[in-house]
Amino acid sequence: MSFEPVVLFFLLGVAAGLARSDLKIPSSIYDALSIFLLLAIGLKGGVKLAEHADGGMLLDGAFIVLAGALIPLIAFPLLRWAGRLNRADSASIAAHYGSVSVVTFSVGVTFLAQEAQAYEGHMIVFLVLLEIPALVIGVLLARHGQGTVKWGKLLHEVFFGKSIFLLVGGLVIGYLAGPQGIQPLDKLFFDLFKGVLALFLLEMGLVAAGRGADLLARGPFLIGFAMVMPLISGFIGVLTAWALDLTLGGALLLATLYASASYIAAPAAMRIAVPEANPGLSIGAALGVTFPFNLFVGIPVYYWMAQTLYRFGA
């Protein structure tokens, strides 16, 4: 995995950030890259769905969402009692870890391509499904017993926030247009995907460099959490995939989804719904630690977990 170029772009960004280079990705370009990635992933999922959708998927989806809901419920008490964080921060961070990172997922797909491993195309549908319950659970945890929740604003942010909206929109377009219909768009959305991902990772590296430094100042607990939590979630993902009889590739992707922490959808939603939480903590942990951890350590480890379980569990 070490010489995979998209990951090297991330390191280049980190280096630029640490060296205080004047390299900056303009914010409008960041927005454009993220719109591209979200749409492209949605489209790809939709096309796969059009090729073979069936009822079993619905059941699988329900199971995957339920198992995924464990993650914030494990993270919250860890943060609250082991980490002695306040309720709002614990809930907000739990929501970030329950939710998923589209970019980490993409790196997982890239990893499978390198390993020449197949996977279920409809994984992307699960990606979309997983995004939502974690945010709701996070808010419930934050508000449990006190204060009122602006549910309207939160649900609006969740469903019509850019991330979910573009993922779902791409999914629907891909499904309706089908492989044939999408084909003229392939040269933009699929052929350029990996290159755009590389540029996005460059920017992520720039941001992570700053975030990681912020976090170091906060003491070691959160840093430890940001590396242990994905291992726990990833393990749950491998088990769930095995229980559902997914392919080995599907197991890696599900583990990656569970293990990844959101830094696009969740921060925006939590800033609105749980404003008293400190966004520096959650973004710092998710982007400054967990994201690179998954890139360099997590994904190979989940792959090894999956291989081991599939060999012995068979």
Partner: protein, 97 residues
């Protein structure tokens, strides 16, 4: 033509609040405002504007003192506790109709 006694109320806050302000200002009586993108440093740390929602916005509202106070009070009540927020005003002379 010159209306004395008008204030320019300036609000600097997190960009994530823009849609909320757009919805809440008119009911308070605000009939006009001007928004620009900004970045900055404050008690909530550095806001680099590296991506849209992470930046600040600057909202300028030309209004009378009473409305300015009403807006400032609303923002203090709703947002000051948990969001990066700076509000100040200065008297200006208006030259357009």
């Amino acid at each position: 033509m010159n209306t004395p006694n008008r204030l320019l109320l300036t609000i600097v806050c997190e960009a994530v609040l823009e849609p909320l302000l757009e919805a809440e200002l008119p009911p308070l009586g605000v009939t006009g405002y001007t928004i620009t993108d900004a970045r900055g440093l404050g008690t909530h740390g550095r806001r680099s504007g590296a991506w849209r929602k992470e930046g600040n916005i600057r909202v300028d509202i030309l209004c009378d003192p009473a409305l300015a106070e009403r807006v400032a009070e609303h923002l203090r009540r709703e947002y000051e506790a948990h969001y990066g927020l700076l509000i100040f005003s200065s008297p200006v002379e208006v030259h357009s109709a």
